[in-house]
């Protein structure tokens, strides 16, 4: 698989008067048109990594890397105008809570249509048509009606589907989903994942799925990257997760309560300070 995204030695550092935080310390990975999951706890740097790809890290954050290649284009060198063309048009991002990522004063349909018209020259009528099509693609029944609703009128699950519609309507090659299902109920989660799964496959896209939920990522993605303290601890195929080598990965898997675990103590993750300098 030709590399859609190739990241080498990514560092993101935040320097304030009080302290210096190295959020990402030397992350390298490559992906093709496949589904990759990035798993980590809070502070692992998983979200910051993806924001750095999209150029969404503002000062006092600094981004350095050996290279950040998206389809051959070096993302760091790109000037702001070209970055705007890439953002949304070729790489899109869906975030956790549609309550905060949808504009509350515009109808849902108008927002999606706007996302379309930013990247494609189209009339209002054409944009509306495309929007309704997209709403159907994310399996919203009665898309014409939903077009005219406002974000506060829809449920969390539908809000996320609207976000997916908005992010996919310009036809990007790579979709980054940052904890898209964490605020949703478990059955709604799976429905949303199925929609994303189908769309990503149909369009031959790549998908980066960021989550703290190891089980979910293992069952949904093709490959998994496990991050801790700004570094990648381990990368493996989803099917081989049970053979994971790194003690952090094993510890993370073991401390999850499962329906089948007998009651009693859960093995607690013992953090080894050596992991801070662990695999790159």
């Amino acid at each position: 698989m030709a590399a859609l995204l190739d990241v080498k030695n990514l560092h993101v550092t935040f320097r304030t008067r009080k302290e210096t935080v190295e959020a990402v310390r030397g992350v390298s990975f490559a992906m093709g048109r496949e589904k990759i999951g990035i798993v980590g706890e809070s502070g692992s740097g998983k979200s910051v990594t993806c924001r750095a790809l999209l150029g969404l890290v503002r000062p006092p954050g600094t981004v350095t890397a050996d290279h950040l290649l998206f389809d051959g284009v070096e993302l760091r060198q790109t000037d702001p105008r070209h970055m705007q063309a890439i953002r949304g048009r070729r790489i899109s991002m869906v975030m956790q809570d549609p309550k905060y990522s949808l504009n509350p004063v515009m109808t849902v349909g108008d927002q999606i249509a706007e996302a379309y018209r930013i990247h494609a020259r189209a009339s209002q009528a054409e944009a509306r048509r495309k929007t309704v099509e997209m709403l159907e693609a994310v399996r919203i029944r009665r898309p014409e009606q939903v077009y005219d609703t406002y974000p506060h009128e829809v449920s969390g699950g539908m809000g996320q589907r609207i976000m997916v519609a908005m992010m996919l309507i310009p036809g990007p090659d790579l979709l980054i989903a940052d904890e898209p299902t964490s605020a949703l109920d478990v059955t709604v989660q799976l429905q949303l994942l199925a929609i994303m799964d189908d769309l990503v496959q149909q369009r031959g896209m790549g998908l980066i799925f960021i989550s703290h939920d190891l089980n979910l990522v293992a069952s949904f993605c093709d490959r998994i990257i496990i991050m801790y303290a700004g570094r990648i601890m381990e990368t493996c195929n989803a099917a081989e997760l049970h053979n994971a080598q790194h003690p952090y990965t094993r510890g993370l898997m073991n401390c999850l309560p499962q329906i089948d675990t007998p009651p009693g103590e859960l093995p607690v993750l013992q953090r080894n300070p050596a992991w801070q300098d662990g695999p790159l």
Partner: protein, 261 residues
């Protein structure tokens, strides 16, 4: 220990009335570990709010430790029943030190010896005395939740109501807090009611589980039934299979049990 009979809670009035809880009944024995699992809007948190006395608009009957409960609760009740909340960042007052947070209940109930009690409560949740004068923003999420548990325990209650106590915590921290709760239950012979949307957590911690949807308990089962994958109600089966992870085929078969869309 706890008997709930025909409990109903409605929010709003007239045409906009929403029945949050509809004629729910269940019993928890002393020393029990009872779980209530359901998705958002199922009414599970509302039940806890009624049991704790935070919600005063309900109909039905609630009996705790032999006493029929009125809408308003008294001081003695609060000594017996305590609650741990979901959000570790919201449940501690940002301007109070840990010491102040823990000594307040002691002062309200006039128990005396607050310094000794505070240190002992911190010890029980695995925090040393150096945490006594810190502010919440100087603590991690797991530490804050431990302080919340210490606060609930300092009055030596018999019943602990747990409202999604680990949902906002990292997975590794969740394991520590769940272990803490398990240990406390054994050592102090408490009665727990644990509410969560996470079936794995509820199945791990509880012996009996009520599954709720849209204000109604649709099934009550022992945890072994879950382990044997043999729940009766289709909604429970669906919840169970959804909790096991993503399965494209299974998703296609998901039914709509509520009127989303």
């Amino acid at each position: 220990m706890i008997t709930v009979s025909d409990l109903s809670v409605t929010f709003g009035r007239g045409r906009r009335a929403v029945p949050a809880v509809q004629r729910v009944s269940f019993t928890v024995e002393a020393g029990g570990l009872y779980g209530i699992v359901g998705e958002s809007g199922s009414g599970k948190s509302t039940i806890l709010n009624v049991l704790s006395g935070l919600n005063r608009r309900w109909r039905g009957s609630v009996t705790i430790d032999g006493d029929q409960q009125a809408l308003q609760r008294d001081l003695a009740f609060h000594k017996k029943v305590q609650m741990v909340f979901q959000d570790p960042y919201g449940s501690l007052h940002p301007r109070h030190t840990v010491d102040r947070i823990l000594s307040e209940p002691v002062a309200i109930h006039r128990l005396g010896q607050s310094a000794a009690r505070v240190v002992k409560a911190l010890e029980e949740v695995g925090l040393g005395p150096e945490f006594r004068f810190r502010y919440p923003h100087q603590l991690s999420g797991g530490q804050r939740q431990r302080v919340a548990v210490a606060r609930a325990l300092i009055l030596e209650p018999r019943i602990l109501l747990l409202d999604e106590p680990t949902s906002a915590l990292d997975v590794s921290v969740q394991a520590e807090v769940l272990n803490l709760l398990t240990g406390l239950h054994q050592r102090r012979n408490l009665t727990y009611i644990l509410v969560s949307h996470n079936l794995a957590v509820v199945a791990h911690m509880c012996r009996r589980i009520a599954v709720m949807n849209r204000g109604v308990i649709i099934e009550e089962l022992g945890v072994d039934t879950l382990r044997n994958r043999s729940p009766e109600h289709p909604y429970t089966r669906q919840l169970l299979s959804a909790s096991l992870g993503y399965d494209r085929q299974a998703v296609a078969m998901l039914e709509e049990f509520d009127m989303d869309d």
